[in-house]
């Protein structure tokens, strides 16, 4: 039935893992890179069953309730006070979010 992920199908080689991790801004340990190559390969093998279907004439269904253009009146409403907005920041001076230097000197 379903591959249990024990055999690496190479559907997801290490280089792909590293490239995708970089796109996702996600640092992985070498062990995670190896593990994900195997596990994500098995998952991609499994989802390949969708190729059995010809869906070229089926419209993609993005949402269960297919709404368009939900609009509201353009009026000002109160928003989060500044103090509350920065209260959970890992680094803040009480007014701004502090980040490492963005531009190289």
């Amino acid at each position: 039935m379903v591959s249990d992920g024990a055999n690496n199908t190479m559907a997801f080689p290490r280089e792909t893992v590293l490239k995708v991790a970089s796109l996702a801004r996600l640092q992985l340990t070498p062990e995670e890179v190896d593990l994900f190559a195997t596990q994500l390969g098995a998952t991609l093998d499994y989802v390949a069953r969708l190729d059995e279907l010809d869906v070229s004439n089926v419209e993609p269904m993005v949402h269960a309730i297919e709404l368009t253009n939900v609009l509201r009146d353009d009026v000002l409403v109160p928003s989060l006070p500044r103090h509350d907005a920065v209260a959970n920041a890992p680094k803040t001076d009480g007014k701004y979010f502090l980040v490492p230097a963005i531009l190289e000197s």
Partner: protein, 487 residues
């Protein structure tokens, strides 16, 4: 006698009539948490003083002769995915270990307005990704019926708390079965409403086109009351639907005449345990005995639902979870010097393995060159899955079947096998893809004494019909009176 021995619906009615005070109910449930949660590990955070203060205020309001809200002081446990202002809200993740929301989720506002008592936050798989609680960054929750087994997930603590009678009702969220699957494995009632029925404002996002908040309860009556309290339009969630909320509790006890029940042959195929099948078929016979017309229906694309889900949900998750950047809230690494290093290291340090796997899978499925092949293809198959349900519901009112292919599995049994864990959601996932409501109702026990759930599904916004159908079955059986030896 402890008030925890009453079914949730009975307690709720006694609170409404004033026969029982909110302080008495809250005190008994807080005592039950003290007594049992050391073994079950359902709660991440219990705020005793705040809960008792809410109960005291409600009782005072009642003694002044003021009208009391729908929940009338009923204690409610809350999955840690829902923001409660000023209270720790971690989503089961190290990423949000120190996060205290600056606002209440819409459903929390609704519960406060309805005079519920909030007991605290319950354990869950990290960011609602998982089926066993083993992906929680904090603790593993145990099934009250057998502590060596999982309560299911991702709303693990909310289900286990109700099953162990540490809360009469609770809130969970269901993206692929995360309410119905743990309800089934814990022998309680759990319901996923129609997508859009309940606002997602303040629900920490996993997969936004699938996520929906819903109730757990020891019985159908209190589940109906809790849904009635939380449902309704909210302009802050643009997918929340502006349709009136029926009074589910006032029609609940009216049986449905001429009920047509569909049995999907695909839900009784390979992989379903014989003991589960037998209990579910016996439950369907109960409906036959009540005069229901039972007929076969077909959901031919249901075999593609897991594959479809595991492309769409990770894709949405990879986008949603990009907000955890170490800047605005959440964990930030100590080690990085550049901005890019800071992003990657903060995320790498604070996300657990399953969250990383899904971010990776989703990023891949959305990436240039693969977007059409994976993500868009899954969206096309999603429509076929929805159309199967539309056709079936042209013919029947309710589709009945199992919630899970097996009873509760052992903790650790599937933890090294992500794909094997995904398959535990085989019967619940298609309702999320289609956006339809579903409910899990207790329908028996395995010879080993583990609970079995009956899943009922209905067409969009047919919650009233679904609850009445569930109640018809509940009245004919005594499963809801069973509770684990521990409680």
């Amino acid at each position: 006698m402890s008030l925890c021995d009453l079914s949730a619906g009975t307690l709720w009615r006694k609170l409404q009539s004033g026969e029982v005070t909110a302080v008495a109910a809250t005190t008994d449930y807080l005592n039950a948490i003290t007594q049992f949660d050391g073994q079950v590990a359902a709660f991440l955070h219990v705020d005793r003083d705040t809960a008792l203060a809410q109960a005291t205020n409600l009782d005072a309001k009642r003694s002044r002769g003021e009208p009391v809200g729908l929940m009338a002081g009923l204690p409610v446990a809350i999955k840690d995915v829902l923001c409660i202002k000023g209270e720790p809200t971690t989503c089961g993740s190290k990423m949000l270990q120190n996060f205290r929301p600056p606002y209440d989720a819409h459903v929390i506002e609704k519960l406060r307005a309805a005079d519920a008592v909030l007991l605290g936050h319950t354990n869950m798989d990290e960011f609602a990704m998982g089926s066993s609680s083993e992906n929680s960054a904090y603790q593993v929750t145990h099934n009250p019926w057998d502590l060596s087994r999982t309560p299911g997930g991702s709303s693990s603590g909310s289900a286990a708390a109700v099953a162990a009678r540490m809360a009469p009702v609770s809130l969970g969220s269901d993206t692929g079965g995360s309410i119905r699957q743990p309800a089934g494995l814990c022998g309680i009632v759990g319901m996923k409403p129609t997508y859009g029925r309940v606002s997602r404002y303040g629900l920490i996002a996993y997969a936004s086109s699938l996520d929906q908040v819903g109730p757990f309860s020891t019985d159908v009556t209190a589940a109906a009351a809790l849904l009635e309290a939380i449902a309704g339009h909210d302009p802050r969630d643009s997918t929340s639907v502006n349709q009136p909320v029926p009074s589910y509790t006032s029609t609940l006890d009216q049986p449905l005449q001429g009920l047509k029940i569909g049995v999907a042959k695909e839900f009784f195929a390979e992989g379903l345990d014989a003991e589960i099948e037998q209990a579910v078929r016996t439950a369907i016979d109960v409906y036959r005995g009540l005069g229901a017309d039972v007929r076969e229906v077909s959901l031919p694309h249901s075999k593609y639902s897991i594959a479809t889900y595991y492309l769409i949900a990770p894709s949405e998750a990879s986008s949603n979870l990009s907000r955890y950047d170490g800047v605005h809230y959440g964990h930030r690494t100590e080690s990085a010097t550049s901005l890019n290093e800071m992003y990657a290291a903060s995320r790498g340090e604070a996300f657990g393995p399953e969250v990383k796997r899904r971010i990776m899978l989703g990023t891949y499925a959305l990436s240039s060159g693969y977007y059409d092949q994976y993500y868009v293809k899954a969206l096309r198959v999603r429509r076929l899955i929805r159309e199967d349900f539309d056709k079936a519901f042209a013919d029947v009112d309710i589709i009945a079947g199992p919630v899970t292919p097996t009873a509760a599995f052992k903790i650790g049994e599937k933890s090294d096998n992500p794909l094997g864990m995904y398959l535990a959601d085989v019967y619940t996932i298609s309702a999320n893809l289609a956006g339809i409501p579903g409910i899990s109702v207790p329908c028996g026990f395995t010879p080993a004494g583990l609970p079995i759930g009956l899943q009922l599904l209905a067409a969009p916004f047919q919650e009233e019909r679904l609850l009445r159908a569930a109640r018809m079955y509940e009245r004919e059986t005594d499963w809801v009176t069973r509770k684990p030896a521990l409680a």
